[in-house]
Symmetry: D3
Subunit: 287 residues, 6 copies
């Protein structure tokens, strides 16, 4: 696999073969119902990554110490979610089948379904840790089953009860909250209970897919997202949480979604997302 | 009363007669001395309310359970504050006299004077709970008595000492702070002492007008306001405070003012205001 | 048909039954491949229409003299173009079958396909006059047949050669330009030849659908569109052209598409679009 | 008169006594009904003037050759148009009575009434040349007589028929256009007939007040104004027109109004306004 | 020469060896005195080029027909103009010495000096065709000799009288205009006289460096530049002029400078610049 | 020293001779490597200071009680850091030599080097308290020794080990962090250990230069800076820290740098900076 005509994420200088982790992007937001722009997320993250350092003072680790290949964006069929997901699955499969960790940069949250489909086959016991402001548990949205608002419900279709661990959720229909209380490991509003969940998943060495909808963050530090929800967690809280998970759990795939850089002209949202990518890359490989 | 040609706040589907609460808007900022835009507040709140859910996970309540009529904006005389206030009083009076709770969406803070004039007649013992970054206690501003900078002073003219309970104030002239310390129940900078104030008002069942200048919030989570003042309260703090007040006190009228959506292109300020409207609607009727 | 919870276009105060023209909106941009935002077009046009006058000094006509019903936006399935088009066809059919002129506010250009499908049945001799910067004649775009980039090609599938009259086209693939030269009445770059085309269509009283992609305008006067193309026509040129067509031809349906108000914070694009809606409403009924 | 704490317009280094022309600003937009921001006009023009040169290649003249005093902004009562106008009249009177030419930087168009009141007393035969997109001839606006939408009507109250020469008008109520056709020297849409008007005023050496509402310009070159109206004149057209007038007519006062710099983040509107101030200063003194 | 980690301009897929033209970027604006941002020009042009087509309907030519290598940006010493110019010269020399046409994407105008230094050695009879709003003929600017405001003066130091042909200039100090009239082939304000100049240069087959400061365009169609100057030329005028020059003259190097994409959030400036790059690439090779 | 043509910071009405503190501005960002705009900091702070009050409720102090002269910006050579620093040193020296406290408004961080050079001569025992997100300890940046990224390293060249006290640092190369741990009093990430440092400096009455890079603040409350770094301190934390330092330590000079107002269109960053200037002015003189 070759990445031509791509400005890669800072410090991701490895070739595919030598890489432990492979970045891939999903410039897609066709099902976004409110304010679009998540399609611009992956390229913004790559371009603005040159504004941060490769060194993490939090972990005393440097991107130069690890091997990451940035495979660029998948060219997706705009306007047809079903085809787009297949195209994305193909890339995820190539990465996973080569024994490398697939790290997806969204795009809207629906894109998570592609690697989950792939990895649920490879890891029948797959669990998902889900950070989000929204439950994303609708059965359909305005008639569409493949929608950002339904993505965790689609994951539940595949994985079943008790496999999805949700944190930070503070928005949804009454029915979604009822569904969550019954079918998922549900931690609404903030991150309470994370340590216990991590402890349990880690002790059993269960394979974990980590999906981070960046709107779990408070809009004050992350305004650049389609549906900002006041009352979220701080950068420090999220960073610590992710470091804990990545160092303790057996991560088999992960994503960072819902940055809409066009909605934040100050650029602080994109800069924060870049820093989280660096922190995730550093701590996944640091155990 | 009929609301034609109005996009109403989400979930506010009741007719006037059946409604317990009536929303009305004041698209007015003629006396704004620094950066205008609060005139766009009411329509922005209505339009963007479709980006939030009707369900409050904080209260496990849904707008669908309650009866609210959105009467739209009052057509106000731009450029003459005195006439504009009379026009606004007229609407407030119709609502109050029909035994419904008037809920005003500003506009600049001067508009608070209209419902206070009306309700002070109906409730001679009226108290005001006031959240704000600014004291708004000047006797005049550049010669004008009817100014956003004087609105609580005008309320004090009507209600007298000890009736106004101010929280979060962190900006004003030295003379305003001196006036506040002498004549109002003054809690500068943050929300310290709120529980005691609420307890007292609640135990005596005193009628309370609640006025929330959104710039009481920290500019990090609410940049979209004419005169942002660093050092404010967080969304969680304000939301809890309002829930406490609405559940305990006898609210006879309320407002949310000083959103200037044009000053925040990320839209997080408007989204936050929408959520506060939902939370207020849910908790006022939940006791 | 009732329009509830809608802020209608200025001066459009008629009920459905009495109206000669019916406005309907398509808040859709799921197939937009470059910069989204056309979904916000219809509501922006309605909201900002209160910034213009109902009187046209160009035509000495007033919206108050004519009967227009604004039926609001069609609720569309986000992310599935095929379903969305069906939903839109339904509305167009109701309007057309009631003998009223359907006037569509886009949205991206794909939405034009819905009324064309309806009207091609009602008027087998239907012609299309098409203003645009882009040919929109691809057979597919990244695998999708239903795409903004293919919409006139889909119309050609229905209507066949010689029925589509294209003006202002200054962007496209080489293959699209070749196709146009062979299969459509093609007037690239500017509006040359418009008078002759109009004369011919008028003299034979042929039914005409008028579709105006606003990016036919020069980006200097209309920056708020997804894919701005330098070298377009001026407002005066477009306004005159539209007045000529509407006064001479037998218009059986029309649309104005591709305003993306989020891309122009100055608001001049939305204001211009509002004015064109007014001018079109005035001149269609003025013959 | 002393200008303390003022960043003056570039090249305006004269003291009051030696100056031929005196600049004064009116940071006022309280009656603006649509989008405010003209209050920021005068300070933006001064601040950004350092981005242009003092030399005019159009006239081969330099601001260094002429004597202008910038007296800064008048401190105006926000929210009360009547008081604000009196405050502005006072400044205009001081300037005019000292035999200097008062050049007002707006602010919304209502401010023009102040110097016209002053100069109509000094020059009973005063004429007004008026460039604008809007007729501004309403008798009242939402009940207010002192409104930007009525300012030329108020001038007509003072001067009577035939004294006001209007150019570029392309927006207004039907009634305003009817009034204009009867009572003013009316040149709608563009600048046709300007030469004749100038010739006539010049030949009789009539005193002329020149008021330039910058929205007479096409929004493409001047997006930064509250109510942009497509179809305006170009910079070259307006610049030539103003040079013609200033060189031929007996100008006794002038203004440039309705720049709202906050509505144009590219800054081209403010830069254009700065250049027009320079051109006006150069050509008024060049005859 | 290899371009790694670069998103190349659309259609520029050739390798260095096979290419006729080589693009190189100068992300530099350290001497910009007014509003910075030109440093973002090259990457914006590359990134946004995917929003235009490779086919030019003006010339019926396609980028796919020609061989261009995009060598990416030169890494420049920020804050030291002298070092930065040397670094840029090095790249220009490699390209020119390989017999390829160097096409520079700025950056501020100072960067033009680098290829001119290189090419003046290779072509002692070098002429410059210069499109700009500003004369750029100061001898120094605030003490700096190496400044965007002096760049053509520095070129004159090298080439001497009569070798620089300036068009569109409408801003400068009186002294610069005087210098231009004496020492350059000076065509102020618009493009008058271009045909004659081209004819002369072409007939003698003189080597020509073409430098296009994009602010020669009217700010209405190109707001995204540091110092916008009202009264410029239109896109159609500039495009025709460039086509004429490139088809007739012996171009030995060229640049396009002073796009500051951060100053135009609508993106029309960047889109226009992309289109000009395409047009230039197509017509240089089309003779 | 006279400040002509300057809009001074609110309440700074003293003349040079009577002043205890003298403000001076450095509109410079030529070495900014990422996103420029700090050059606009000083004038933005002055202009927007009229949106805050002169009274500090935190300290119960008013700017009217103290004597500050605002000497305006130093005219700096754009594009040559070495010359610019000399120009700035000259101003700092005049202020310091007159026995007044020099208070510098940046500008990028490199400007700090100028007063440090001056004061290190006057106070051989000079210490620096440094708040920043970035270590700024590189020995060179892309070959330049005089760069914002190297400024504290240059200070270290002058002062040596143990004299620089760094707080809040959360970004840098691995080598910078290593250097800091060895050579400075290093408190990364937050403000831990400040009290001890202050206590020590105060007890020995050591002369202290205080430099505040505003990006030490969290981007949520201060988005308007070139290189925002998530995870910073809050306004309340910084304000308290500065009050502590100014009241206890012997401050001999200070600065506030890296506000880039163009990067935050909401204006909250500039407003916060204004408030910090007021708080610093109030507490420096209040011991």
């Amino acid at each position: 696999m070759l990445n031509k005509n791509i400005e890669t994420f800072i410090g991701c200088t490895a070739g595919f073969d030598e890489a432990d982790i492979v970045l891939y992007g999903a410039p897609f937001d066709s099902t976004t119902s409110y304010r679009p722009g998540a399609r611009f997320g992956p390229s913004a993250i790559r371009h603005e990554s040159y504004g941060i350092e490769t060194y993490s003072p939090y972990q005393d680790r440097d991107l130069e110490d690890i091997s990451v290949f940035d495979s660029g964006d998948v060219e997706l069929c705009i306007g047809d979610a079903s085809i787009a997901l297949s195209q994305l699955e193909e890339r995820a499969k190539i990465i996973a089948d080569a024994g490398k960790l697939p790290f997806l940069l969204g795009g809207e949250h629906l894109v998570t379904l592609a690697p989950v489909r792939v990895l649920a086959k490879n890891y029948p016991e797959l669990h998902i840790i889900h950070f989000d402001a929204h439950a994303d548990l609708r059965d359909d949205y305005l008639g569409a089953k493949l929608s950002h608002a339904c993505v965790l419900r689609r994951c539940h279709d595949i994985l079943g009860d008790g496999r999805i661990h949700q944190f930070g959720i503070r928005s949804g229909e009454r029915a979604e909250f009822a569904f969550a209380r019954e079918h998922t490991d549900f931690h609404p509003l903030k991150l309470d209970g994370l340590c216990e969940t991590v402890e349990k998943l880690a002790s059993e060495k269960l394979p974990v897919y980590l999906t981070v909808d960046l709107d779990v963050l408070d809009p004050s530090c992350f305004p650049g997202t389609g549906t900002p929800e006041a009352g979220g967690v701080s950068f420090d809280e999220l960073r610590s949480a992710l470091e804990l998970i990545c160092k303790k759990c057996r991560i088999v795939g992960l994503d960072l979604v819902e940055l809409a850089p066009n909605l934040d002209q100050s650029g602080i949202s994109t800069a924060l997302a870049c820093k989280l990518v660096r922190e995730l890359l550093c701590c996944i490989t640091n155990k």
